[in-house]
Structure formats: C-alpha cells, structure tokens
C-alpha cells in the first residue's frame, strides 16, 4: 500500500482512521457528548476536504476511482451525516437512547456510502453497500425497548439481506459473462463484444438489488413500515443519504455498461416503466396517509421515481441532474424529518391534522416546515424546483418528453398532500392550548432551510459542481 494511494484516497483513509479513533474514544471515555463532538468534527473535516479540488485517478490497484464525481457524492453524504447527527441529539436524549455508538454507526454508514460512490471494482461496491446497509439495520433498531423499532429493524434487515442476494447474483453472472469484475474492464469488454443473455440476466438481477435499495415500485412495500417504525433521525438518514448512495452506485454501473444500454429500446422501456410506476404509485399512496412519517415514506418513493427519470435519460445532463437532485432532496427531506422529530419528542403528535395551529405558537418552526414542504412539491423559488426542472429537462433532451409530462403531473398530485400540511399549520386553529409547548427550534433546521432556499435562488455554483462531476467522471 503505497503512500500515494493513501493520499489519493484521502477522504476514505481519513474516514477509516477517524472511525477507529471514535471507537477508541467511546470505549475509554464513555461519554456520548464527546463522541458526538468528535463525529461532528470528522464530518466537518470531510466536508471541507470535498470543497477543494483534488487529484483524480485510480487508487489501490484499480479498486477505487477518485474523481469529481465521487467528490460531489461524498459531499452529499458527509453533509447529510452531519445534519442528521445534529438533529438526533435531543431526540435520542428524550428517548433515553443517547448512546455514543449511535454517532459512530452513522459515521460508519457514511463511510460505506463513500465506498459505494468511489468503487471501481465490484468487491468494493459490494462491501460498501453492505457496510451502509448493516449500519442502517442497527440504526433502525437502536430503540431497543420499542417494539415498533424492533419490528422495523427486523423487516428492514430481512428485506435488505434478501435484496443483497439478488445484487450479488447479478455481479456473479456479469462476471461470468465478461470475465471481469473491475468496472471499467467490464465496460471495455462490452464495447468490443456483444452482450450475451447471461449478461442481461446478470444486469437485471443487479438492478433488482438497486431498486430494492432505492425503494422503487414494485420493490417498495417495506418502505412505509420501516420508515414509520424506526427512530425519526435514523429514518432521515435512510431515506436520503442511503438513496443518494444507491443512485451514485447505479450511475457508476450504468455508465460502465452504457455501450449496451444506450439507445437500447428494451432497456429504456423497462426502466421508464419502473420510473412511471414509482412516481404514480408513490404519490397516489401518499394521498391517503394521515401519519406524517408514512406520508413522507410514500413521497420518498415518488422522489426515487423522479430521480430514475434522470437515469432513463441516460445523458450526462441526466446524471448530473440526479446528483443535484440527490443533494437538494437530502437537504429538504432531512429538514422535514427533523421538524417531525422535534415535535414528536415533546408530544405524540404524528398526523398532519395535529400540526394545526403550529404557526400561531411557533411561527419560525412552521415557516421552516412550510419551506420544506413547498420545496418537496417543487414550487419555485426553492431548491426542489431547480432539481426537478433539471431532471425533466434532461428527459426532454433525450427525446422522452412523455416521461417528463408524467413526472410533472405526478408532482402536481403531490402538491395536494404537501400543501395540506401547510394549510393545517397556517390556517387552522390549534386543537388544544399550548399544544406545542416545550418545542425548541433547532438552529440546524434554519440552516437547512437557508441552504434549500439558496440552492433555489443561486443554483449555478452547485449545478456547475454537479456538471463538472459528470464531465470528468469516466473519461480516463
């Protein structure tokens, strides 16, 4: 292991060493507060690292591929991780599960996501996926005394392990068909030879694994139950960063087999059918949900559908739109779950109608929540609008206008259930006096709201970042 490799893969080297430091500190000092601070410092260092341009290339004998692409993805993961842990603290303390290990596991999950985004070999992709998934199983079940959390962890675990089986079988058949496991060598093989049916079976099995992880229809049934039962901050992480990670890995795989999928009508038909189903089913099911966490779970299915539109488009514009949307979506969804966590830890208020009159008592909190809801709907001038616009524009560019139309219609449906929350917060009288007493606004939420707002008004900087990420992604 040459020093050069370690430096080239600095974010991953750093995250690995920091993980070990965290475990040692937690084991000796046994103070959750200290572990929290150190984890935040770790995330901050990672975020800073991502903001500076760095060397690109293959590290550790073509195992990792460091590029602006992985840099952008790592930025999203580290930012989500940092926001999630700052929003978790008071929730965990209230639920009496303030373990230092919680933060360590969030950090390790982020490390797994970073591996997925930087993987250049199927082994690393698989290990990254498993590190992330296992960490999320633990996070889902971390409320040990809570039966619903146990149950959610159980379901998540069984379905997650089931889907990794498919994913792995896909890898195996692709290996058999191409004789390679290094992604770019698979790409070269496929450029020179035609794909066999063994390859197509392998790719579809691998896609099943991916579709499970991003909870696309028809592999979405686990999502609402798991999201509802898990502790809210854990849900925030698994609905955002883990989906973003699955999408970055999906883009890596699709780009390397693009010589077979480009202009392949079967591939485009299959994937666009799934995208349409995901958008429609997610949004329609969300309409009838009264529980906010379930509503957000179904809407997160719909958002996965929007991002799939970018993958179907199959162009650099489409992929960079997915990256940008992953960032914006992570921010606004973490924000929305953060507000729910804040209110949930004071009172057992879970349905949209319980939020009636929030504006009267806590105007700032209501304002922040409204901003997240509007942005999730895709109303300008917030970040969600730009993200969706870019996704659908990419689809139109690739000659898939009908897909963009379905997407816009689906978003119009989503306006109903998002705006319903806003209407309750602003227009209705509270159900009881001092309903929201004791709810203290977490400054992090204001920060997230500000970021979502800024991404909507001045998107150029970030869009360029995402565009560059794709331009240099695989041209070496």
């Amino acid at each position: 292991m040459a020093l050069h490799d370690l430096l080239l893969a600095l974010p991953i080297t750093f995250a690995t060493l920091w993980t070990i430091l965290l475990i040692v500190v937690e084991a000796t000092a046994k103070r959750a507060q200290l572990t929290f601070s150190l984890t935040s410092v770790g995330f901050l260092i990672l975020i800073t690292m991502m903001l500076f341009p760095s060397e690109q290339g293959y590290a550790f004998g073509e195992m990792l591929r460091l590029s602006p692409y992985s840099q952008f993805a790592n930025f999203v993961f580290a930012l989500s991780g940092l926001l999630v842990i700052t929003l978790s603290q008071s929730y965990l303390a209230k639920e009496n599960i303030h373990f230092g290990e919680y933060y360590i596991i969030v950090f390790i999950a982020t490390l797994g996501m970073m591996l997925m985004a930087s993987a250049a070999h199927m082994v690393v992709l698989f290990i990254g996926l498993e590190i992330m998934s296992i960490a999320l199983y633990v996070l889902a079940g971390i409320m040990r005394k809570d039966l619903r959390a146990n149950e959610a962890a159980m379901k998540y675990f069984l379905l997650g392990a089931f889907s990794s089986g498919f994913f792995l079988y896909g890898i195996s058949l692709i290996y058999g068909a191409t004789g390679e496991m290094t992604l770019f060598k698979i790409g070269i093989y496929l450029q020179e030879n035609s794909a066999t049916s063994l390859f197509w079976i392998g790719l579809s099995l691998m896609m099943v694994g991916f579709l499970f992880k991003i909870s696309a229809v028809p592999f979405h049934q686990w999502t609402p139950d798991v999201y509802e039962g898990s502790p809210t901050p854990s849900t925030a992480l698994m609905s955002t960063a883990s989906k973003a990670a699955a999408f970055t890995a999906l883009i890596t795989v699709v780009l390397n087999v693009s010589s077979q999928t480009e202009n392949n009508s079967n591939w485009i038909f299959a994937l666009s059918t799934i995208a349409v189903l995901t958008m429609v089913v997610g949004n329609i099911a969300a309409l009838s949900q009264d529980n906010l966490k379930r509503m957000l779970a179904f809407s997160s299915i719909a958002h996965a559908g929007y991002m799939l539109v970018g993958i179907v488009a199959g162009s650099d514009a489409g992929y960079s739109a997915v990256l940008y949307y992953a960032l914006v979506y992570s921010l606004m969804n973490i924000g929305a779950f953060g507000v729910i966590a804040l209110i949930e830890q004071q009172r057992e208020l879970t349905s949209a109608s319980d939020y009636a009159g929030l504006f009267k008592e806590k105007p700032l909190l209501a304002g922040v929540m409204a901003l997240f809801m509007l942005s999730l709907t895709g109303i300008p001038p917030f970040g969600g609008f730009i993200g969706k616009y870019k996704l659908f524009a990419a689809a139109v560019e690739s000659g898939l206008s009908w897909l963009a139309v379905v997407g816009v219609l689906a978003s119009a449906v989503s306006a109903y259930y998002y705006l319903r929350v806003v209407v309750f917060m602003f227009m209705r009288e509270p159900q009881a006096e001092n309903q929201f007493e004791g709810v203290v606004l977490n400054p992090t939420l204001v920060l997230i709201a500000l970021l979502v707002f800024l991404l909507g008004i001045f998107p150029t900087g970030m869009l360029r970042f995402a565009g560059e990420a794709m331009k240099f992604a695989f041209n070496m």
């Binding site: 199927m122 082994v123 698989f126 290990i127 498993e130 296992i134 199983y137 633990v138 079940g141 040990r144 005394k145 809570d146 039966l147 619903r148 146990n150 149950e151 959610a152 962890a153 159980m154 379901k155 675990f157 069984l158 392990a161 089931f162 089986g165 792995l168 079988y169 890898i171 195996s172 058949l173 290996y175 058999g176 004789g179 390679e180 496991m181 609402p224 139950d225 509802e228 039962g229």
Partner: protein, 101 residues
C-alpha cells in the same frame, strides 16, 4: 460423462430459487434468514464455478469477501432477532404486524 459449467450453474440457480421461495413462503424470521444464507451460498457456488472455468482468481476472492459479509450480517441479524424476542416473545413475522395499515 463430463461435468460442464452449466451443471454447476444449474445447481447454483436451483439453490437460489429454493432460497427465494423459502424467504417468501416461510414465516419464522430465523428460518427466513437461513434461506437468505442459502441464496448467498448459491451465489458463491456460481462464483467459484466461473472462477474455475475462466481460470481467473477474482471469483474466488469475491467468495472470500461474501463469507466475511455473511458472518457480519449473521451477527447483526441475530442480535436484532434477540432484541425483538425480548420485547415480544415471538419471531413469527405474521404476529409482528403493528405497523400494517
């Protein structure tokens, strides 16, 4: 008779199918998990078979890592089973349906 690659792949695909059906049909969480292990082993068999017939070592390396991952998964999965059992005294996933609806 001669053993060909297809024989191994057939065996592997058979095991995988049985595993998948087991996951979907059985109700006991631990047995479902065993069926997942069955699926992973089916995949391992196909890796080793490809590795042998390609004369390429990568397939066998992958098996090595799959085993490690399976061990880690087993530790966490069984911990989840135990924590569930402490609160509920059942591992039958039909009785676990607080979250339906």
């Amino acid at each position: 008779m001669h053993i060909e690659l297809n024989h191994y792949l057939w065996l592997s695909a058979f095991m995988f199918t049985v595993g998948v059906i087991g996951v979907l049909v059985r109700r006991n969480a631990i047995v479902i998990f065993m069926c997942v292990e069955l699926m992973l082993n089916a995949v391992n068999l196909s890796f080793v078979a490809f590795s042998h017939f390609l004369s390429d070592i990568q397939g066998q390396m992958m098996v090595f890592f799959v085993m490690t991952v399976a061990a880690a998964e087993a530790a966490v999965g069984l911990a989840i089973v135990i924590s569930l059992f402490r609160n509920r005294q059942t591992v039958n996933i039909d009785e676990i349906n607080l979250l339906k609806g």
